[in-house]
């Protein structure tokens, strides 16, 4: 779960000042409607604005995700209320909401990525709002694989940008709209330490890698190496230690990730 100051809800504290070392640019605050027209990836690629807020939903019980907002609709996958690596509570971005005939609230959410030895789930699905907690995040991560840079947005304002290592042509970083599934504090001996922001993206080439489902993560370079600004990874996004440490202190589960 993210901290209140990271994700503002209706009763959250006021916005803290910008962290030391973070740079504010003069980009205008976006209107969410703009994103609905072109999508964040397109918007980011075009240098357009990012939505200042993203609604999230945290699951307090395993939920079936359905194709349509109805109890009779087909179940496309079942979403566990915890994440497999850290046990953190599952938090999903909310894309839409609606009421069914019985007056029950349904949420269209972005779904976690493929699990090992499981059928790949669709990108989105509908879940009931029962036993969930809705939150809001002000953060957004945008990765430009062409420029090999990662940008961090808060309240729709670009705060910082970092050079990154992205996937090489044979194992590219998959473009699309994803979210952070888990914020993992890796042990120093682990590859990619000290932190890994595990995303819902999965490699389009590697169905299995190092015992995992080919999950795309934003992590450090420990025991991996590589030069920032190059495309040499297996699909993950590698950052410098300072950058990933800074991100890990601020980015929690559910934060949208746009890869273009």
């Amino acid at each position: 779960m993210t901290r209140p100051d990271e994700r503002e809800g209706g009763h959250g504290p006021p916005s803290p000042p910008l962290p030391a070392g973070w740079r504010m640019t003069s980009l205008p605050i976006a209107v969410a409607g703009l994103l609905l027209l072109g999508g964040p990836a397109d918007a980011a690629a075009a240098g357009a604005a990012i939505a200042p807020r993203q609604e999230l939903v945290a699951l307090f019980a395993d939920r079936p995700a359905r194709e349509l907002p109805a109890s009779t609709s087909r179940i496309v996958t079942r979403v566990s209320d915890t994440r497999p690596i850290t046990g953190a509570r599952t938090t999903l971005p909310v894309l839409a909401r609606t009421l069914d005939a019985g007056g029950r609230l349904w949420l269209k959410v972005r779904l976690p990525g493929r699990a090992l030895a499981r059928r790949p789930p669709p990108a989105t699905g509908w879940i009931r709002s029962a036993r969930t907690l809705r939150e809001t995040t002000r953060w957004h991560i945008v990765i430009d694989t062409h420029r090999r840079r990662l940008a961090v947005f808060r309240d729709g304002i670009r705060l910082a940008g970092y050079r990154a290592i992205v996937g090489k042509p044979s194992t590219p970083t998959p473009p699309g709209n994803y979210f952070i599934e888990e914020n993992v504090h890796l042990y120093s001996a682990q590859a990619g330490a000290p932190f890994a922001l595990a995303t819902s993206a999965r490699s389009s080439v590697l169905q299995e890698f190092a015992g995992g489902p080919g999950q795309i993560a934003i992590h450090g370079r420990a025991h991996l190496g590589g030069t920032l600004g190059t495309a040499v990874s297996h699909g993950c996004i590698r950052l410098g230690k300072a950058a990933i440490t800074r991100l890990a202190a601020r980015i929690g589960p559910g934060v949208p990730v746009t890869i273009s």
Partner: protein, 418 residues
């Protein structure tokens, strides 16, 4: 940190602090609370511990300084008690030194005192069960009992003797070789400990560092050397060798028959020992309200009925940062609030008015967890005597986004694409 000892337990293996269990004769829990490492570690061990009677000094009790060969003084030392030498005869340096007692040079009184000193020395050396100590005593807090070192012992910083409210609590230190205290070192008595009940049986010689404050009766087999400006609340008793003084103050400590449990110090016309409250530099950032006495500097007297307390933190760096910068700079949102003092009965801790802990026995501590923003830590201290309760406060500021609390350690391999 504090350790209550059991027989045969090694303090070296436990690291710092140590303390002997109170002499109740019952099974007691053993605590090891690490504060110098800025982390608390608690170990519970059942022990059986018997009360130690004081070491009888006999006629040596009236002596503040007693030597076997010579007593040599330089400068205006003050001896509050008798001064003697036997079988040697030489006593030099008085004046300029002052003896507020009687000088016995190779007479029958000093001979009897030396004889009684031998008995007392053997008594102290034979006390059991001992707790093994070695090396450095500084930073330790010990409770009543017998502490034994098979080699030399040093003291740098503060050694705290905690009587745990028992004015008859006895501390016996058996040192096989030498005792050496560093400059500015201090022996501190708390919770009713009396210097008359502290005994240092030294198998060789003792050397007290410049400007140190020492408490207890040194029973040395050979010699005792006291450097410049040392305050001794106890006795310097050397069986065979010399006692050397340089501008020092030695006061023969006598037990106060009227002392009640929990009393902060001794009386009986003596200058009391280093009982201590409010001397920590980390307290400067706290506000104190109430009428309680805030304590005395090293070696000061704490009169019965004068409770005192100070509020600090663990790690100390938090309190020091608050003291130095107030809320102009931020501190970690996680630390331990700590109240130390004398005659403290119970402490209640609050953060921003919300109760976070309550302690009825030492250590009076509570863990503090604060989010971003300005907070006020409050400790409401009640005393065992009629000292009015006091409220201690620390106002601090915690920065936003200073932690990595969002991240969690993996419970399963990630298997990222890399």
């Amino acid at each position: 940190m504090t350790v209550r000892p059991r027989a045969g337990m090694s303090l070296k293996s436990l690291t710092k602090p140590l303390s002997a269990a109170p002499a109740r004769g019952a099974l007691l829990n053993v605590w090891l609370l690490g504060l110098s490492g800025m982390l608390a570690l608690v170990v519970l061990v059942g022990v059986a511990w018997a009360a130690q009677p004081p070491v009888g000094l006999g006629t040596a009790d009236s002596f503040a300084v007693l030597a076997g060969s010579t007593v040599t003084n330089t400068g205006p030392s003050t001896i509050n008690g008798d001064l003697g030498v036997n079988p040697g005869t030489a006593i030099t340096g008085f004046p300029p030194g002052t003896v507020n007692g009687t000088i016995h040079a190779a007479d029958a009184v000093s001979a009897q005192a030396q004889s009684d000193l031998t008995i007392a020395y053997d008594d102290a050396a034979g006390r059991t069960p001992p707790v093994a100590v070695s090396g450095e005593l500084g930073g330790l807090t010990v409770t009543p009992g017998v502490y034994k070192s098979s080699s030399s012992v040093g003291l740098t910083g503060v050694l705290t003797l905690d009587a745990q409210g028992d004015p008859n609590a006895v501390f016996v230190f058996q040192v096989a070789s030498t005792l050496t205290t560093a400059s500015g070192s201090r022996v501190k008595l708390i919770n009713g400990a009396q210097p008359c009940n502290v005994f240092w049986q030294i198998g060789s010689s003792a050397t007290l560092g410049t400007s140190s404050v020492f408490v207890g009766n040194i029973l040395a087999l050979t010699s005792i050397s006291v450097n410049d400006a040392v305050t001794v609340n106890g006795r310097l008793l050397a069986r065979n060798g010399a006692v050397t003084l340089i501008n020092d103050t030695v006061t023969a400590a006598h037990c106060d028959a009227g002392t009640t449990p929990g009393g902060g110090g001794t009386t009986g016309g003596d200058t009391t020992s280093g009982d201590t409250t409010g001397t920590d530099d980390s307290t400067t950032g706290s506000d104190t309200t109430g009428t309680g006495t805030t304590g005395t500097p090293d070696g000061g007297t704490v009169a019965p009925g004068d409770g005192a307390a100070l509020l600090t933190t663990s790690p100390r760096s938090v309190a020091k940062r608050i003291a130095r910068y107030g809320i102009a700079r931020t501190v970690s949102g996680r630390f331990k609030a700590l109240v130390s003092g004398v005659l403290v009965r119970r402490v209640r801790f609050f953060v921003d008015g919300k109760a976070i802990g309550r302690q009825k026995r030492s250590p009076f501590a509570a863990f503090v967890r604060s989010g971003a923003g300005i907070h006020v830590l409050t400790a409401r201290v009640h005393f065992t005597d009629n000292t009015p309760s006091m409220t201690l406060r620390l106002r601090y500021r915690v920065a936003a986004d200073t932690s990595i609390a969002l991240a969690r350690r993996p419970r399963a391999p990630g298997g990222f694409a890399g």
